[in-house]
């Protein structure tokens, strides 16, 4: 052992930038995550393998040494999360990736990150659940990633829907995490992890995307209490009032950041009588379906939350205020639907009529959504005809 810190060792050798210029590539979603993390200066991946995200670790551990980055495989996801938190406290940009039952185990380090404001980045590639279920696909980890810990869900959850977004939002996750200092998750799924498609990779600083600086939280120079304030990072409190007081700034900081964090994509809202709401990979099918329905003359719009936590509540309320019904489409039994209802609850817009198309663990195609929307419109027509007869 040389006794040198990771940073000192790194300074000895100049490594190339992982991505130079802009490059059109065809690769899998897991490979995209590894390249994005390399490109935006992630230093250390602590992880434990689980399908369907294994290739993130495969690619990272293969590529990392070329760029002076590190990899540690721990004995389980709890260790992976806490090792990453330790690295973050030492000032390194650490991250991890997991799925399914691994996301469950990750809740403890995530909750600690919320309490101590540690900028942990976690990529989740959802598989089928509950329990071991399938290694393939679902959208059943929406609540787990958003609210899974023992706490208030003080996290940011991005839901990309294409490889381009997977690249963009993995980079963004590191910026958000270090800027706002809340754990930040990128919620993909097994389809996005395994499928291959084209995207443009780039060097983030070349596009003006400079990550917030990483810095050590412990071990600063000087004598604590004399030369500087002692660093006191707590996740344990004696009495209720002490915890309550400690939580206030966390909650205030989180909710003041909400307007700067929420993101969404919308389309065809003009005159829409029905708005299809979907996230992640299902958003692609929804977008295609809405385009097709508009061509057929159906007044249908499109709403896709890009942040599931915080959810773009205000944006959705503005849309429902105009009176359209909603059709929530997801590969889960109503997890997105719960977020939608939470967003609309307590307002006049909360009375919006919500239809659902729920397929836990199953992929959803544009054709199915078109069919479902047409059925809903047929239902209206029959209802209106029925009412007309009664008059």
């Amino acid at each position: 052992m040389s006794g040198k810190s990771l940073k000192e060792k790194k300074e000895e050798k100049v490594y190339p930038r992982p991505v130079s210029g802009e490059k059109r590539v065809y690769m899998s979603g897991n490979e995209v995550v590894a390249w994005a993390a390399l490109a935006c200066g992630a230093e250390f991946l602590c992880g434990y393998p689980i399908t369907p995200q294994n290739e993130i670790m495969h690619f990272w551990s293969r590529l990392a040494p070329r760029y002076g980055r590190k990899f540690l495989q721990t004995e389980d996801e709890l260790s992976a999360g806490f090792a990453a938190l330790g690295g973050i406290m030492a000032g390194a940009r650490c991250f991890s990736a997991t799925a399914g039952p691994g996301t469950v185990l990750f809740q403890e380090p995530l909750a600690m990150a919320e309490m101590m404001r540690l900028p942990l980045v976690l990529v989740v590639q959802q598989r089928g659940g509950p329990s071991t279920a399938t290694v393939v696909y679902s959208q059943q980890e929406v609540f787990l990633t958003s609210f899974g810990g023992n706490g208030e869900g003080l996290r940011v959850v991005y839901a990309p829907g294409s490889h381009q977004e997977m690249y963009d939002y993995t980079i963004k996750a590191f910026t958000t995490a270090w800027q706002y200092r809340f754990p930040t998750l990128v919620l993909g799924d097994g389809y996005q992890a395994q499928m291959k498609e084209a995207l443009t990779i780039y060097d983030p600083p070349a596009r003006g995307l400079e990550a917030a600086p990483a810095f050590p939280l412990v071990g600063a120079a000087g004598l604590p209490g004399v030369d500087r304030e002692p660093a006191h990072w707590r996740n344990t409190f004696s009495v209720e009032e002490e915890l309550f007081d400690a939580l206030q700034p966390l909650i205030i900081d989180y909710y003041s950041a909400v307007p700067f964090l929420t993101e969404k994509e919308t389309g065809f809202l003009e005159g829409a009588a029905l708005v299809v709401v979907a996230h992640g990979i299902v958003g692609r099918a929804a977008r295609a379906a809405v385009g097709e329905l508009r061509e057929k003359g159906f007044p249908v719009g499109f709403f896709r939350p890009l942040t599931l936590r915080p959810f773009p509540d205000e944006d959705l309320r503005k849309i429902t205020a105009a009176g359209p019904r909603l059709l929530v489409v997801e590969s889960a039994w109503g997890q997105l639907n719960k977020l939608v209802r939470m967003a609309l609850g307590g307002t006049g817009a909360g009375r919006a009529e919500i239809y659902t198309y729920l397929r836990p663990g199953l992929g959803i195609t544009a054709a199915e959504i078109v069919q479902e929307a047409e059925n809903i419109f047929r239902g209206y027509a029959e209802q209106e005809a029925g009412e007309g007869n009664n008059v």
Binding site: Y26, Y191, K196, A198, V282, R287, T365
Partner: protein, 222 residues
């Protein structure tokens, strides 16, 4: 009309379905088309059915799976059965007419599965037998059934392990979405690490690709 092809491929694990699908998609990407390839298989380490879905088009592609395929490729009976839901009146099925028998699993004896299924590498090296499995009746009725003895071509002229590349050549031409030279480029890229270890595989694979590209085309145009 804009080009839009939906392709589903199926075979036993180790038959090279994923490489074939990936190379096809990569070739279409090289030609500047929109592509999406997604593998699909279960949790089996050995003896599972391996499916792949490829979409090639000119507009951005929506969901990674689809309801009905324009082209279906089957390298085993079991996989053709799994692909049946993707067939329709407009589908063309391309199958290996020197079909390999899928591995049998002795479910009655717990633990026997390991011994009764073939490791993927063993499967790829396997010699053909006279026992051909009957192709299941496709009840929906399809546009074309095209048989190509890819296994025989590979075994007699090249090596059994490149039968998937023979099929790939034939499939690629059917898509009308890629040129042979971009297919060759994609193949060399995809197999780069293997070819580096064993340079003899390069002419073998390129010949297989060309044989597939030409043989089926000659048969079909007759």
């Amino acid at each position: 009309m804009a080009l839009e092809k939906r392709i589903a491929l199926g075979g036993e694990g180790g038959q090279g379905v994923q490489s074939a699908a990936d190379i096809l998609a990569q070739a279409a990407f090289e030609e500047g088309r929109e592509v999406l390839y997604i593998p699909n298989f279960g949790i089996e380490q050995r003896g599972g059915v391996s499916l792949a879905f490829v979409q090639i088009g000119e507009k951005p592609i929506g969901s990674p799976k689809f309801k009905q395929a324009d082209l279906i490729v089957a390298l085993s009976v079991r996989s053709l059965e799994r692909l049946e839901p993707y067939t329709g009146a407009e589908s063309t099925i391309l199958y290996d007419s020197s079909l390999l028998a899928p591995p049998e699993v002795a479910d009655a004896v717990v633990g026997r599965q390991v011994y009764n299924t073939h490791a993927p590498e063993a499967f790829a090296e396997r010699q053909l037998t006279d026992q051909k499995q009957a192709i299941p009746e496709i009840t929906t009725g399809v546009k074309h059934m095209l048989g190509l003895p890819a296994g025989e071509i590979a075994q007699n002229q090249l090596h059994p392990r490149v039968s998937n590349i023979v099929i790939l050549g034939a499939l690629a031409r059917l898509t009308e979405a890629v040129q042979l030279n971009s297919l060759e480029k994609a193949l060399l890229k995809r197999l780069a690490s293997k070819l580096e270890r064993d340079p003899a595989l390069k002419p073998l694979n390129l010949k297989a690709l060309r044989l597939g590209w030409e043989t089926l085309h000659q048969q079909v145009s007759v």
